[in-house]
Symmetry: D2
Subunit: 305 residues, 4 copies
């Protein structure tokens, strides 16, 4: 019998979930940026740490953490896509054996507390569902940049139907022309490399893209959650020329009409029970016609999106 031998496949390593809060003072007026930042490095030079415990090229995960905080001091944070690009440049330029990496950020939203009708200078309230996402991925000479949002929970109490689906041995679902539709949107959009190079006003883009997605969710009369997803993605791409494609994961958070007939009560879509599990799960991608595919952009990202 010949000996079994193995080799190293895809890998990366780093420090995950650095909880960075950056305060910027403009006199008495403070701005805060609150991010969870993950840094991971990619390169052939790291193979030795796996195969023989050779750390001579291992930029310690602790060093990666320090770099996150030090760069936040030196350069500020700004848009998360820009801050991650800064990290990517730092690591790939400081260590010539670092070929690339994946840098990810989640941005936690805050708003100013209102005092006497005015937004306060230095006191904030955590808001929202809606966590902003960003990634920069460098590998094999390519750089991919994405923005996104998660935890965006939305519901419409009418304007959603579901019927016309095939009925088979295992089909029991009745058709409906009026139901609650609720979902928790996770979306990631890939920026066109040419737009990244030219420079993007990421913060404004984020606000616009989330707003147009919310509008589509609200106004599309939906025959399927898939259709709503599609229209949200299409509208975002039509709105902003920087977007190459948008990936969505949208659970169908079921709200079941409670059967009140045993109690001699009618229930015309008035009383619902919100279910936890199971839930529908729709994942889909809307792609601008004519852009080059970039499968590498997605392979390291968490989950489908």
């Amino acid at each position: 019998m010949s000996e079994t031998t193995v080799h190293l496949g895809p890998n990366k390593y780093g420090k995950a979930e650095n909880r960075l809060v950056r305060v910027t003072r403009h006199g008495d007026r403070h701005e805060i940026a609150d991010l969870t930042v993950t840094s991971q490095l990619i390169g052939e030079a790291f193979a030795g740490s796996f195969t023989s415990g050779d750390n001579s090229r291992i930029v310690a995960t602790d060093t990666q953490k320090n770099t996150v905080f030090a760069l936040a001091k030196e350069h500020g944070v700004g848009a998360p896509e820009d801050f991650l690009a800064l990290l990517a440049d730092q690591f790939t330029s400081e260590f010539d054996w670092v070929e690339g990496g994946l840098w990810q950020a989640e941005v936690h939203p805050w708003e100013r507390i209102t005092v006497d009708g005015q937004p306060h200078d230095h006191s904030f309230r955590r808001t929202g569902t809606g966590t902003r996402l960003a990634t920069v991925h460098v590998e094999a000479g390519e750089r991919h940049v994405t923005g996104g949002v998660k935890d965006l929970v939305v519901l419409k109490s009418t304007g959603s139907e579901f019927h016309g689906f095939p009925r088979s041995r295992f089909t029991t679902l009745p058709e409906t022309t009026d139901r609650i539709m609720a979902t928790e949107v996770t979306a990631r959009w890939r920026y066109l490399p040419s737009a990244v190079e030219a420079g993007i006003a990421y913060d404004a883009l984020y606000e616009e893209v989330v707003a147009v997605m919310l509008e589509q969710f609200a106004t599309v009369h939906s025959l399927a959650l898939q259709q709503t997803l599609w229209e949200m993605g299409r509208a975002a791409i039509e709105l902003r020329p920087e977007l190459a494609e948008v990936r969505f994961a949208m659970p169908n958070k079921h709200h079941f009409v409670v059967d009140l007939s045993p109690f001699d009560l009618t229930n015309e879509n008035e009383v619902f029970i919100a279910a936890d599990r199971p839930y529908g799960l729709i994942e889909g991608t809307v792609v601008r016609d004519g852009v080059a595919e970039a499968p590498g952009a997605w392979e390291h990202l968490p989950a489908f999106v």
Copy 2:
């Protein structure tokens, strides 16, 4: 040796976390109420189910669930305190052996999605930190009603000091005259029984109490998180005569100044790392002078608050 014998002590039972969504239609304009409702019953008559599996007086937890949804249809939901009172009345009047119970609600906040600058008629976005709480507790002939809030995450980037504390063998903490103060407020306020009887506009009260607490958090120059807690409770009680007392649990969510001196960088409260655990935990009660104590009001409530 004498035989060991036992008896039944405090108990209650019911159905927890009924996920109720109630839609109310005013023509094309929909309102939604989204609550998690728990119903539990108390009474001597239930002892037999423990000691001998005698269910002849056990109002099934499934029946309690059905009652929640049926009453939401018949009466609507309104303020959570009112809806829970309705449940309390229903169970104690329908079954003469039900002596009391604990009814709890969490209200999940939504706002209308903006379309063309206008709030949409039937499409909503889940918002905020800040889950509204309510309880009605009936036992031993007394009825206690509380309101509250949880998940209210706030941060101030200055205006907080901590010094003057005693130094002992195990003290290493440096004093500070400027730090980030962040917390996640859980508060429950007990309404005066006389005010409950007279009727309270709970929804308006909730908005006002949360607003004044946020204002106090923002404007009190804080020497200790305890002091901030106290001022938040005091302001709420001064604002609304219906409040007998307010209980708080407020973690001190530490934000540590990152030591950047090894990198020849200064850090004047600019770059922080947000820590998860351990965290400070301050619990305190602010009580209106002159009101009767009501220890029974708190004994069944989750956690300190």
Copy 3:
């Protein structure tokens, strides 16, 4: 109008969830203790920190944290009840204004990894559901000690019935003589003060109490989850004379028989769907006859138990 005035009610403060891992070496053989420890102090002297930000008596929460780790070094950990008593003694003796406090521990279970059929000397695998609990509460001159367990998830696939409950307008639940019964046990037992003083072999007691509770869950033919709870508590108290009372919170984790009749399939308690919410929630206390009541023992503990 007379001025509104307020006073300070129940309060405590400290450092929560200190993640302590203590390694003890016996030559090559290592033991590990993995605990989450919370320390909070109680005393009149702390009022000033609330009412005026006077920290002159505030033992900093950071100092409390340091004390947890330092005492773990000096004395080892041992049984969590003993370690918490050590903390209680330390704080109340070191600072004469500390009147009491609440000290809590969760013990995370590990087992040795098996190598060549033998338990390894220094390598461990986190195991189990079943987190051990302990508290020491000192207030108003009284000391209460409890042990407990949480996250103990159990299921029996038969030997459980539920029928004979009253049927009212809102009752739809069918009766059953055979169902799955599943729960996640949280239990806290209060030790008799006299037994605490005499000294208790807490570790052995914990193993015995959990074992007898599991046995009761398995062997009691159950007519109601309440009855199972009662028999678990009774057996524990009968087994160990140190126990004054046992409090339980036991959710009824529903497993519904899936209706397969539309598919021309029978389902004789073979295929179930496990539901998340809502769930039944049974809370009850089993008390040894003849012991003095101790309501103060429970008022600061999280949730019902």
Copy 4:
């Protein structure tokens, strides 16, 4: 300006997290299988539901759910890989337009409760960290099958070093020749297609693979977490010829030696604080030499693994 147009990229849809409990009776002896099953379908025919709300080919997610429970009745569950293959065959054969899909399972572990020293016939305790994973992915004429494990938390209190890493401007980490190493293993292994066709005894394989991974974790004297990962994967592949490759995600769950020197106490790796965030995150793949690559096997799987 030319009009912006878009097309549909990668997508799938279905029902997620069906909580299936299957009881099998052998006389008085019951077996239970407890799985969370996700079913999602892939095919060109589903495009219309996105682009125009055409549901005429949409196998409703509710129908997918029903199929999971019905097949569990008709065929039992057995090894999760086999049960998922059954689902894959059912959907792709019942509907000629279903080209493929992704089917995933998590298996929740239970053990029998011990009564009088014997494992009980029908009463069980949820055990362990260590959730078994399986996936079957069918797309573009290929079928990929994986097994795996997650939530496998392990710790060694010695036998781990970390030194020899490069020191740069942002490096502050001291070198160590003795540290705690702790991680929570997530691993997925891809089976060789030829082995899948020939038939695999998945249950036995799972036990063996987890056991050998645990042994490697325990016995490898580790110079880097990467090295431990590598040796775990190598040993698994050497042990079982059915494995083509193993992917790991292994967080480095940091345990920091507490500095007790301010208290005149030594701390020779005795007292640690377990940190939550940030944490190291090592991801790597060990591949059997000579097997064909299968990037499609991984593209739909959650996270790196």
